[in-house]
């Protein structure tokens, strides 16, 4: 699903990633852990091209991402952020439906899928609530549903539990794992919490000194 071959990225003189080799198979669920400032978020941002690599190859679903338009690439995946990135002036349902609307899908089709997924994650009673009316965990569940709406083959989660307490974090990771199995989607989850990774007992990679190693 994802292949990184000798990928490097620097910010000025500071080398963040150096000749990184990494692979994530279709339908695979994996954690990527590392200390703060180790380059975890840089790696994820390279994958959805919010920033560009200095060198190396990145393939998603067998295609070099540099040869795709950014929006075409982003339509192949769903991204979940630490800060949720929900629009405050849109309701839960509107926030989720936004992902389908930007693709020009039919309103009824989007709405049915959004309601199905929101019900699945326990937010059926909050469809018309605004993000500020929800708890952190509920906001993150909304963001997860938005990432899943267009049935992508890959979900990238950048510190999805970074703003949540331990109990809610575990709840979100468990939800991601369940959705990975139910929806058949590959997931790469970034976290700095060793404890959570141990509790989840899933394949994990570590980023250290600009390199990525499988644990």
């Amino acid at each position: 699903m994802i292949v990184l071959n000798r990928v490097s990225k620097s910010y000025g003189d500071r080398k963040v990633l150096q000749d990184v080799q990494f692979q994530l198979e279709s339908n695979e669920f994996a954690f990527l852990k590392g200390k703060s400032g180790s380059g975890k978020s840089t790696l994820i941002k390279l994958l959805y091209r919010e920033i560009e690599r200095d060198s190396g190859d990145i393939l998603i679903d067998g295609q070099e991402i540099g040869q795709m338009k950014k929006y075409e690439l982003r339509r192949k995946m769903g991204v979940v952020f630490q800060s949720f990135e929900l629009l405050e002036r849109k309701t839960v349902l509107e926030n989720v439906m936004l992902a389908g609307k930007v693709l020009g899908k039919k309103q009824t089709e989007i709405e049915n899928e959004a309601v199905r997924l929101l019900t699945r994650v326990g937010l059926a009673g909050h469809l018309h609530h605004f993000p500020k009316q929800l708890s952190g965990g509920q906001q993150q569940r909304t963001a997860v549903v938005r990432a899943l709406l267009n049935k992508p083959k890959l979900i990238l989660a950048d510190e999805p539990t970074g703003n949540l307490d331990r109990e809610t974090s575990l709840e979100i990771l468990t939800l991601l794992k369940e959705l990975h199995e139910e929806e058949g989607v590959a997931m790469l989850v970034i976290t700095h919490s060793e404890q959570l990774i141990q509790q989840m007992n899933e394949k994990s990679w570590v980023i250290e000194g600009g390199k990525v190693y499988e644990l």
Binding site: Y48, Y71, V79, E85, L87, L98, K101, V102, G104, R146
Partner: protein, 291 residues
Amino acid sequence: MSFESLRYIWDDVQSGLKRNKGASLASIILIFVAVTLIGCLLLMRLALEDTITYVESQISMKVYVEEGYDTEQLSSVLAENDFIQSVEVESGDEVLAGLSHFFVNREHLLDSFTNGAMNDAIRVQVTDASLIEEVARSLDGMQGIEAVIYPQEMAQTLYGWINKVDTYGSIITLILLIIACMVAYIAFHLALYQREKEIRVKLLVGANPTHVRLQFLIEGLLLGLVGGIISLFSTFALFELVLQPIEQAVPFLIQLDSSNRIIVFSMQCIVSIVIGIGASFLATRKLIRDV
């Protein structure tokens, strides 16, 4: 682009304007103020051009014919020149009669001019009043012409003013246009800054940047159009309340024809729309490029 996409973009335009009422209103007001000023300035300039044309038409020269020379023949020769619009012959007695008001209560002085004391004269109207000095110089050397008299100082003052109006008017209009564009750009930029997250999220979930930009261009177009229409009505009201009464009082000085008014009003709408779309385009450019 599919029909659904267009519908969603239109929905976003509507909700974007509703949810950002303050910023939308500020953009409309700024465009309205700038374009109204430009419109008023243009109307005044057009009115002034009419005044200048009228004053120009009043400038003529007088050619005094040498004694014994055939005045009628000379006037025919002059009338054949392209730069001369009209000629009018005045006999020496008529010239003298024209001077009589200078000699009220001193008629004995006027009597000394009688018996053919004054030469015949030809009043000459030139086609282009700005060439009056040049024409006067060339006529001065012609056979049969004794002297050429024209209001040199007035002509020079008038053309000095015309040049000033042209130069400063153009500069002020240009400065206002630049200010209008900059102010609209800043207003749009501030409005978009509040919606930076919306743009970012849309792009991150896979929106085509062209579609995202289209939404903001349509918003810019609508805000510009509203600002332009309000500005049009304000300028029209100003015309009706200020310029029209002046026009009616001194119709020979100011006569703004309807085509000029239509040009100014249409220009206001077009400039407003261009400012709205242009400012929106520039403001979204960086935001879209960076995500």
